[in-house]
Symmetry: C2
Subunit: 504 residues, 2 copies
């Protein structure tokens, strides 16, 4: 008995070879699996194959692999398993015969779903495609199987339920899993093909964002999240106990990005958490999200900033389209949506043009009024109809609806040099040319009735020479949600935080 | 007068052309600078050159550039300026003659240091190298000069003082700037050649870290910073008011990295803020720092993890050595240090070997005692002498000095499958194989007298099949400090946070 225990432990730690282990830890291991210690000693030389590499080219080879037991079905003297690695899976068979005993088939049949196993198996070409697996042309004939990590028998959710499109199989009484159950059991939910695809694509968005900006000469910066004063006023900010005093969590890295511009870094970006203490329980609000932030000095016109940002977005869209089709298709299987459309160069509409479109569609709103969420969505549809794009910039917002540090439009004091960007009719970025003159900034803050004492450090940053500059902050989770045509930002946040959710 | 004001404003915003501006905003602008509006209209077509591109190849060309006034010195009918862009600077001359009036020289002489100016100038080759500038072979003869942003006349610190090596020029009464003054005025301090180099190199470290891991098949993840329970016990954790309840700031992304491993992401990394409410006022502690975190499943031995991490560090060291020599040299000018040495493969010492070296050097300490900071430093010197490396791994720490989730060494229960990594004798990474079995984890937690109820979610993560895995967390600021041979981690944090500093 001690021998097979040893081998089991080698998978946990080679040093375990001589470690004693209580027999009751072993679980349903059967003597049929007993192998000699010589295998264990050289076990680190063993090459494990990837399921995605199991093709007819490997036919009749004996391979080792580590995988999860996705499903298991015993049938007389045989046990059919589906083994899974991320989005790839393969059918595997244990059958009573030369290589496997009756006990071994029974052992295999008893392995709980989601357990991790090491198997030695020969690869066999199949006549009939196995439609239910990613590897359709081969199956595995298992000769040895070891449990590396055993899952508890009752799973809080079934993976096949978690990826079922809404409504599908309802007549047969098939279940789907509601969002809270998924999020409560995120470790399991993240194993689904849909989740794997979403977060691999999200990793791609971050990489494309950074690579594009690095190529443009931007420098990555790290900005503090614990700050001494709430830069945008005291509302919607989380308070932190900081030794004998109080501090706040940064609602955006904006002040620090701007300080870097004033410190001659010229063009900067940062990727990091942003905190909003808003009690908003909507499909698109999180209390903590990842900000993709940009700030840059410009030479003559803030449209230089808009162009840098829109080009970055276009590079992201192209990168996703060209390199993440598998992930996009995988998400589409569960959540069908139209491919994301964008133009080059990006469409830029002025606020007044947008208002005219909305007026024409029957919307009544004033010139200096902000867009409501339904009106943003309606505008998105109108723009899509007219210009066939899911991405556009809305430029020159009314000054009255923007923060005090926004540069007024010098041609029309009712408007400002500020912009939002939209994907599928929802805002993903807010940005502007910033006031870089301490005196004008003081005037604007006074106009907004902001306590000058509280923003002294901010204003002082511009007293020693500051170039004209602008930027914006992009919400990573929103970009992923809207690019994929999903309908809830919690689907694109690994461990979402909202007013009601702090776990896991 | 309105014309030159217009041009001044074009640099702020092209739309400003027709914007009125109060004359008293104009500052010391003189009529000698008057230019016609036609220049303004086509001003966005103007190409601005970079100072680093000003070489004899551009001799006798008329160029436009935007730069800071680094120094200014009037001398009779001439005014010598040094114009600066980041670490590059060039001498510029305004002299009474065909192109410049007496008033213009006076105007130039009155521009405050650190102001941002646009100048039109012809590039002239010089006979004698200008030793004090980065562009030693040319100077600029200024024909027009405009103030884009005026600095206040009294700077809180002088850049030349801020980059002076300690002790240099003491006899002449030359000042250096103490660290608190630098940090209090970070917007100016970050403009120095030393700071520019440090943070451009830091940006490089992040990029090298991510690129290396991406190439190895790692996936980038984003983990939440606001958490519901303090995973490593309640000590040293910041509390956040979260709507009607309390939450904490994550002391590390470890639980979330591990959850991703349990969720089949296989190999993950993340770059983000880490919060420690330690009242440690040392050269190497911050209350908020940037963690470069790694976690990965392994096949047979946790040394697979050590190899992945050390190889990543080696790729970072090589990338810095090969691509950041300019920055390294620039920092060395102010803070001389020996080049950073490393071996391939990385030296791995076991804890018992390190103890033997320390014992031999006369240190008295027990087998299961943790290393004190002075002993770590001494060990670093001993290792450097014996192996000629500034980077090494210390493996197999005593189990007693590591957290409860550390995998015990199966061969010797006094030790553990855990490691620290050191640069120039200081710890930059702490890591381990983690216990991935819920039952063993429960036993270890109980042994450490940890309230099981508080870590229930953590333990539950491992109940549904978890592969053997390990990882570690690297402190970005420490890596930069120690690679460059600096002596205070506040030098490599743009906006450092410690128990006494929350601003800027």
């Amino acid at each position: 008995m001690s021998q097979q225990v040893d081998l089991l432990m080698t998978s946990i730690c080679l040093d375990a070879l001589s470690a004693p282990m209580a027999a009751d830890n072993v679980g349903p291991l059967s003597p049929a699996l007993c192998v000699c210690v010589c295998v264990c000693v050289c076990v680190t030389d063993r090459t494990l194959v990837q399921i995605q590499d199991l093709t007819p080219a490997k036919a009749d080879q004996l391979v080792w692999l580590r995988a999860r037991v996705h499903t298991s079905r015993a049938k007389g003297k045989q046990c059919f398993l589906v083994l899974r690695q991320q989005q790839f899976n393969v059918q595997a068979l244990v059958a009573v015969g030369d290589r496997a005993s009756k006990q071994m088939v029974k052992f295999a049949a008893n392995i709980t779903k989601e357990s991790i196993v090491d198997v030695e198996a020969s690869v066999r070409k199949v006549e009939l495609k196995i439609e239910s697996c990613s590897q359709q042309d081969v199956e595995l004939h298992i000769e040895r199987i070891f449990v590396i990590s055993q899952a508890e028998p009752r799973l809080p959710l079934q993976l096949e339920d978690a990826v079922r499109p809404d409504g599908e199989g309802e007549e047969e009484g098939r279940a789907t899993v509601n969002q809270d159950t998924k999020l409560d059991n995120r470790v399991i939910d993240l194993r689904t093909t849909t989740s794997q695809a979403i977060f691999r694509l999200q990793s791609g968005v971050c990489q494309l964002f950074r690579d594009t900006l690095t190529n443009k000469g931007f420098v990555e910066i790290q900005t503090p999240k614990i700050i001494s004063a709430a830069s945008e006023g005291g509302a919607n900010v989380f308070t932190v106990s900081y030794f004998k005093t109080s501090a706040y969590l940064a609602q955006s890295p904006q002040l620090y990005k701007q300080m870097c511009i004033c410190a001659d870094f010229d063009k900067v970006f940062c990727v990091g958490p942003v905190f909003r203490a808003e009690d908003s329980n909507t499909h698109r609000h999180l209390t903590e999200f990842v900000g993709l932030d940009i700030e840059m000095a410009f030479n003559y016109h803030y449209h230089e900033v808009i162009e840098s940002i829109t080009d970055t977005m276009v590079q992201i869209f192209k990168g996703l389209r060209d390199n993440f089709q598998t992930e996009i298709q995988m998400v589409n299987k569960q959540y069908p949506s139209e491919p994301f459309k964008f133009l080059e160069p990006t469409l830029r509409l002025e606020y007044t043009e947008a208002l005219a479109m909305l007026h024409e569609a029957g919307v009544e709103m004033g010139d200096e009024e902000d867009l409501s969420t339904p009106n943003e969505k309606l505008l998105g549809r109108l723009v899509k109809e007219k210009y066939d794009t899911d991405f556009y910039v809305l430029d020159k917002y009314p000054l009255a609806v923007r923060p005090f540090y926004t540069m007024p439009d010098p041609n029309n004091p009712k408007y400002s040099n500020s912009y939002d960007m939209f994907m599928r009719g929802e805002e993903i970025l807010s940005g502007a040319q910033r006031v870089h003159d301490a005196q004008l900034l003081t005037e604007r803050a006074t106009h907004h009735q902001i306590d000058l004492e509280k923003i002294k450090a901010y204003i002082d940053s511009f007293r020693y020479g500051a170039p004209p500059h602008g930027g914006g902050g992009i919400g990573l989770e929103r970009v992923c949600m809207l690019y994929l045509g999903l309908h809830n930002v919690r689907q694109t946040s690994m461990f979402p935080r909202d007013p009601k959710r702090l776990t896991p």
